[in-house]
């Protein structure tokens, strides 16, 4: 390799680094501009919507799809929002809860899944979608830096923040799914024929389930739970934890263990796993863990009467 070749090669590499940096930033700011106008869709829209209403809403539900599809929050309180998102668990919820205003009285309903609480591997991977705000929201940045989800290249290539989300953002910017004025985060599940068929096939399989006996509370789950509890206690929030119904809960060990943990922490907990135990119907379910819109309405009404946190 002679001197001329070295110079040429270094120039090429430098050109690629500079140009890719410029293209990255141009793309990042363009996507951010579009993204900030999006208020529809589970990944970005809902997060933007939440950030816009979090300071003024009296009751907010957090959790996974089981919170999102099961709890019609308007049945609980008029000023309410359902911030349940598909595939999001306690780390995601904890990050969002920490963004709530200090000293404003609010009710936080957190959906907890005993299955996640006693999972051997839980690595808060679901918080990855919060990356979209990595360079614009300090709380999110701090939370993500605690995990090992931040790509080392992300400090240089900011577009990594939008990894896997761009097409969804564009789609929701052009064709918003719902009216922002009337949407309050609750997405009841209408079960279509393919989904019904899949569920029936799963039931026909009649898989045997081996219940875990050696239950260990996942340390990450435990730590986030304590953080949420502490935040709520310090900032005038009423924390209620619930578990929504599932089709059949063959393993009750984890529910019992989680109940004890929450009781020891003095956190209010309502376990509705067996809500439909005596009145179950296949049509009430989209799959084993998710109720159909019909069942969700029945459950939400009962939840409203049970918790009694009306205006």
């Amino acid at each position: 390799m002679d001197k001329k070749q070295i110079i040429k090669s270094v120039k090429l590499i430098a050109f690629i680094i500079v140009l890719s940096f410029i293209i990255d930033k141009a793309a990042y700011f363009t996507i951010t501009k579009i993204s900030d106008t999006v208020f529809s869709g589970q990944a970005i829209g809902k997060l933007n919507h939440y950030l816009s209403i979090k300071d003024t809403t009296k009751l907010i539900v957090f959790g996974s799809s089981r919170a999102n599809h099961h709890i019609d929050v308007k049945k609980l309180k008029q000023s309410s929002y359902n911030m349940g998102v598909d595939g999001k668990f306690i780390a995601y919820s904890a990050t969002l809860i920490k963004m709530l205003p200090k000293d404003v009285k609010q009710t936080v309903i957190l959906h907890v899944d005993p299955n996640v609480a006693y999972r051997e591997y839980y690595n808060r991977e679901e918080t990855k979608t919060l990356m979209v705000k990595y360079h614009t929201n300090d709380i999110i940045k701090k939370e993500l830096q605690r995990s090992d989800l931040v790509n080392p290249l992300q400090e240089f290539y900011w577009c990594v923040d939008y990894n896997g989300l761009v097409l969804g953002i564009l789609k929701n910017a052009i064709f918003p799914k719902y009216d922002l004025e009337t949407y309050y985060g609750y997405d009841p599940m209408e079960v279509h024929s393919t989904q019904k068929e899949i569920f029936q096939n799963i039931l026909a399989r009649n898989d045997s389930i081996k219940c875990k006996t050696d239950l260990k509370l996942n340390p990450l789950f435990n730590s986030y739970l304590k953080e949420i509890d502490s935040f709520c206690k310090r900032n005038n929030k009423k924390l209620i934890t619930i578990t929504t119904p599932i089709y059949i809960d063959k393993c009750k060990n984890d529910n019992i263990a989680l109940t004890k943990v929450l009781k020891d922490l003095n956190i209010e907990y309502h376990d509705y796993s067996d809500f439909f135990k005596d009145n179950n119907h296949v049509d009430y379910w989209a799959d084993i863990a998710h109720m159909s819109n019909v069942a969700s309405e029945i459950f939400s009404k009962a939840l409203s009467e049970d918790l009694y946190i009306h205006d």
Binding site: M1, Q5, K8, S9, K11, L12, F15, I16, L19, S20, I23, D24, A27, A43, N151, P152, L153, Y157, C159, V160, Y162, N163, G164, L165, V166, L167, G168, K171, H192, S193, T194, Q195, E197, I198, N201, I202, R205
Partner: protein, 469 residues
């Protein structure tokens, strides 16, 4: 170490700089390559490094012994020793459980219950690749096609050169060894090609293949609960996933080698634009298919005997080629399907004097290969059977989409990947030629756009599919 890891992003430039700093001293350069390659492998598991060293030593020694032997018998004995050592290694680590289980199952068919031993063996990454590579060396020396090297560092580097160590391409000694033994010169054009090919390879792997894999994995995990349309989509996706995964890996390997001044042979040549099954095998995993042709098919007699013998040789080659990929009957069936397709095609082409398959030739090979991929991907024979049954008795129901975002991303990226392939096919050039044609400005712009696409659409996924082989 994976090509699509941060570690490799640090490793490759480091080796590149040190390597060219030593370009006045070939010996030192080769030692650096050897150490870097062993580090590359040991980063995954250093204990299995001993197998590579063992395999390298055996074939280095046997190569010399074959050459020095005066009698054919002695040469043959040395070759046998090489075959036993290499294939024995492969049999022990890859096929032991397969043999014992299959034997027990066969005995059960005759009503005899046989207790069999299964060992908890971890498959050393890349064993199938470097075993074939070293075997080709001794066979070539035996066939007088190659003079053995006496440079032990060069030979050990040939076996373990990191760009091709864990998943090929299976480089022949006749191509690679002279390049290691002779002074390499830095070529600006190769540097450009290399960067372009690495970037495209990464895009193919982490953007196209991994995004398609999200849907494929979810459907193939429970084929029993999905309908025919869903399984068809998943199988089509898999056929592209495996292509872009392995072609992408090969691109990165070839590109990395080019940065170090090595020219590897092309491993994929747009296989889904083939116009016959035979053509697919000229374009898919070329280094393996040509290995099987030269060292197995020809050794069995090739097409020198009767038509029946030719077909038998083809079938055997393809079944063993299938088993090379993995130690389950699914891989053997996959190979048998390809053997059968090749034989049938040969018979029909001869009987009807078909020379040009026309437009239909671009459709039927893909459709037939699609069915064979079911056996390659399904977790076991039962699952594969179920999927094939559902594909044959098609129910025309609405497919399950799942995560819309993932499927739309996968499809969009596939479209980009296939558009590039279509452009290469129509312009009758390969990726290397395209990379070479680009001016530094255009190359910089192309690589920058690829980096942007990777940032926006990469999917975090498991290893390269071919690592398991």
């Amino acid at each position: 170490m994976l090509f699509n890891s941060i570690e490799y992003l640090i490793f490759l430039p480091t080796v590149f700089i040190l390597y060219w700093l030593l370009n006045k001293d070939l010996k030192k350069q080769n030692i650096l390559l050897l150490v870097a390659s062993y580090f590359f492998y040991a980063y995954w598991d250093w204990t299995f490094l001993s197998l590579i060293i063992y395999s390298s030593f055996i074939d280095y020694y046997i190569g010399i012994k074959i050459y020095e032997s005066n009698s054919v018998k002695a040469k043959k004995n040395w070759l046998r020793l090489s075959l036993v050592s290499n294939l024995g290694l492969l049999a022990a680590f890859k096929y032991f459980n397969f043999f014992t289980e299959s034997f027990a199952e066969m005995m059960l068919l005759f009503g005899w219950q046989v207790d069999h031993v299964t060992l908890n063996i971890i498959l050393p990454v890349g064993i199938s690749f470097y075993t074939f590579q070293t075997l080709s060396y001794t066979i070539d020396v035996y066939r007088d096609k190659l003079k053995p090297t006496k440079d032990i560092v060069a030979f050990f580097t040939f076996v373990s050169l990191f760009p091709q160590l864990v998943a090929g391409p299976i480089e022949r000694a006749s191509n690679l060894l002279p390049q290691i033994e002779n002074v390499r010169k830095f070529k600006q054009k190769w540097f450009h090609d290399g960067i372009f090919q690495i970037a495209v390879g990464l895009f193919r792997k982490v953007v196209i293949a991994d995004n398609l894999g999200v849907y494929v994995d979810s459907i193939y995990a429970s084929p029993d609960i999905h309908n025919s349309s869903t399984l068809l989509i998943a199988t089509i996706f898999y056929s592209y996933q495996i292509y872009f995964d392995f072609a992408g890996y090969s691109d990165i390997a070839i590109g990395s080698a080019k940065l170090l001044g090595f020219k590897f042979n092309q491993n994929f040549n747009l296989p889904y634009f083939s116009n016959s099954i035979a053509d697919i095998w000229q374009r898919w995993h070329i280094s393996l298919s040509s290995w099987l042709r030269d060292y197995l098919y020809y050794s069995l007699g090739g097409s020198r005997g009767t038509a029946f013998m030719t077909f038998r040789n083809l079938m055997l080659t393809m079944i063993l080629g299938g088993l090379w990929h993995g130690n389950t009957w699914n891989f053997a069936i996959w190979g048998a399907i390809h053997g059968l397709l090749l034989v049938t095609e040969k018979i029909l082409f001869t009987a009807f004097k078909i020379k040009n398959t026309g437009w239909i030739g671009y459709i039927y090979p893909f459709c037939l290969v699609l069915v064979s991929w079911v056996f390659f991907r399904a977790k076991d024979f039962e699952a594969a059977g179920l999927i094939v049954k559902k594909l044959i008795f098609f129910d025309f129901k609405i497919p399950f989409i799942g995560d819309t975002n993932a499927i739309v991303t996968g499809l969009s990226m596939l479209l980009i990947g296939m558009s590039l392939d279509l452009y290469l096919f129509r312009s009758k050039q390969d990726l290397e030629t395209l990379g070479r044609k680009l001016s530094p400005i255009k190359l910089g712009a192309a690589v920058s756009v690829i980096i942007l696409l990777i940032s926006l659409f990469y999917s975090t996924s498991n290893n390269f599919i071919y690592f398991q082989f």
